[in-house]
Amino acid sequence: MLRIIFPFFIDRFPGRPLFSAVQFSQYWGVLILALLGVLTGVGALLASHMVGSRRFYPRKTAPYECGIPSTGADNQRFSVKFYLVAVSFILFDIETIFLVPWAQSFKGFVANGEGAFIFTVGFVFLGMLTLGLIYEWRKGLLDWN
């Protein structure tokens, strides 16, 4: 089944399993930590619900607004800038992730005498990233006035 979905991977690394069992077993620690995190959160909330005092009255549960009754809706419209920042974050973050394998294999290439090649590859890629940044800058996307 995996061979059909990921034929590229299977052929690329013949004889190497797609998910190695040793590596996968390392994720037990992550799972246990996540469970501990959930337990801490849920446990604290439950404990507070069980032992906490309860003296609610309407004024107390009103949303905080500097002591005056709240006016208007809370989910008002907000600047489109926040959305633009999120979009450009996704672009740049993916490009950063692409740089990681390049950086990791850099030393090996230099040791093989192919330093100029690997540097040029990274330089072109970084140059495109920079061009995108300059474009955003010139378009005024980074100004918050």
Binding site: I32, G52, S53, E65, D74, F106, W144
Partner: protein
């Protein structure tokens, strides 16, 4: 039977040790340190009533927070309102998964081959930490959005925009460190620094990384998300009692793990000194110890304590900066992230790579 159980016991032991120390020890003590240092800087006394030097203040506060009424403000979106503090704690807990807190050890000969003092040896390495720290945006954004409060919405928006903006600069600084060490694995990074700590060749990466982690943890001078003069306390305005306590706990836990990563990436982890390792010291003293701890487990424990000391120094820096520097304006914050740190990080990668390819 014991052979099968031993790796599991070791894993559970590491998890309980780390989780217990950070959530039960470092976070409460850090809150106390924060208040004591702020008092010192502002020429006050600080907490001094509960326990010696007020050390048990955090414990008393914790008990008080649990006993407070579980107030549920009017008009909140209930499922998300309760989910948000839990979502804030989970990334904080997950961030410990890849942090090694000492050299590989046999635990005094218990194991035949040295085992890593790291909860999970993931092949993603430091990338896992970047991924997890991005996840903490969800807790913040949900908390603000579900709270039915204008301050919360504004605070959450600011916090999210700021966290993702500085994530880029931090990520590019990490790329420089990966370039220098040739690996994403934190243990191998420490081993690669035995002759020279990364702070020297990666000084500019550190200059980018340090403000970026301050901004990602929403600490002053970048705590625009909860700037009390403008937004009350931002995204957790409507959270009280232990629900607020969970956000607080998560903040200090993330701060701890990020400090640890900073020490591992730039300051040689548990290495004693550049060019002078613990094994050299043990040999010079004729102790017959190794960091693997085969003959004496102290050989492993002392480097671990040294690592914890470095992390504590970093945590102190967090507190020191918080009570010394004033807050930025929001437009300044965004322009520092996008117009200063990001170009500097890109330039730094290019120059580092050029130097490595040429020299």
């Amino acid at each position: 039977m014991f052979e099968v159980l031993l790796p599991w016991l070791f894993l559970l032991g590491k998890i309980l040790l780390f989780f217990g120390i950070v959530f039960g020890g470092v976070a409460p003590v850090m809150i106390w340190v924060e208040r004591k240092v702020s008092a010192l800087i502002q020429d006050r006394v600080g907490p001094n009533r509960v326990g010696p030097f007020g050390l048990l203040q955090s414990l008393a506060d914790g008990i008080k927070l649990v006993l407070k009424e579980p107030l549920e403000p009017e008009g909140v979106v209930k499922p998300y309102y309760y989910l948000a503090p839990i979502l804030a704690v989970i990334p904080a807990a997950l961030s410990f998964a890849i942090i090694p807190f000492g050299p590989a050890t046999t635990l005094g000969g218990l194991f035949e081959t040295p085992q890593r003092l790291q909860i999970s040896n993931l092949n993603a390495g430091v990338l896992f930490l970047l991924a997890v720290s991005s996840l903490s945006v969800y807790g913040v954004a949900l908390a603000g959005w579900s709270s039915n409060n204008k301050f919360s919405v504004m605070g959450a928006l600011r916090a999210s925009a700021q966290m993702i903006s500085y994530e880029l600069a931090a990520g590019l600084a990490v790329v420089t460190v990966i370039l220098l060490s040739g690996t994403v694995d934190l243990v191998s990074m420490v081993e690669a620094q035995s002759s020279m700590w990364n702070i020297v060749p990666g000084f500019f990466a550190f200059l980018v990384f340090l403000p970026a982690i301050f901004a990602e943890t929403n600490r002053l001078p970048f705590d625009l998300a909860e700037s009390e003069a403008e937004l009350v306390v931002g995204y957790h305005t409507e959270y009280s009692g232990i629900k607020f306590g969970l956000f607080f706990l998560a903040e200090y836990a993330i701060m701890t793990s990020i400090s640890a990563v900073c020490v591992l990436m730039f300051f040689g982890g548990w290495e004693l000194w550049p060019g002078f390792s613990w094994n050299d010291l043990y040999a010079a003293l004729n102790l017959g110890w190794t960091t693997e701890g085969t003959t004496n487990i102290l050989g492993t424990i002392i480097p671990s304590v040294w690592f914890v000391t470095k992390v504590c120094a970093f945590l102190f820096l967090f507190v020191w900066v918080r009570w010394t520097l004033p807050r930025f304006r929001y437009d300044q914050l965004m322009s520092i992230g996008w117009k200063r740190l990001l170009p500097l990080a890109i330039l730094n990668i290019t120059i580092t790579a050029a130097l490595m390819a040429l020299v």
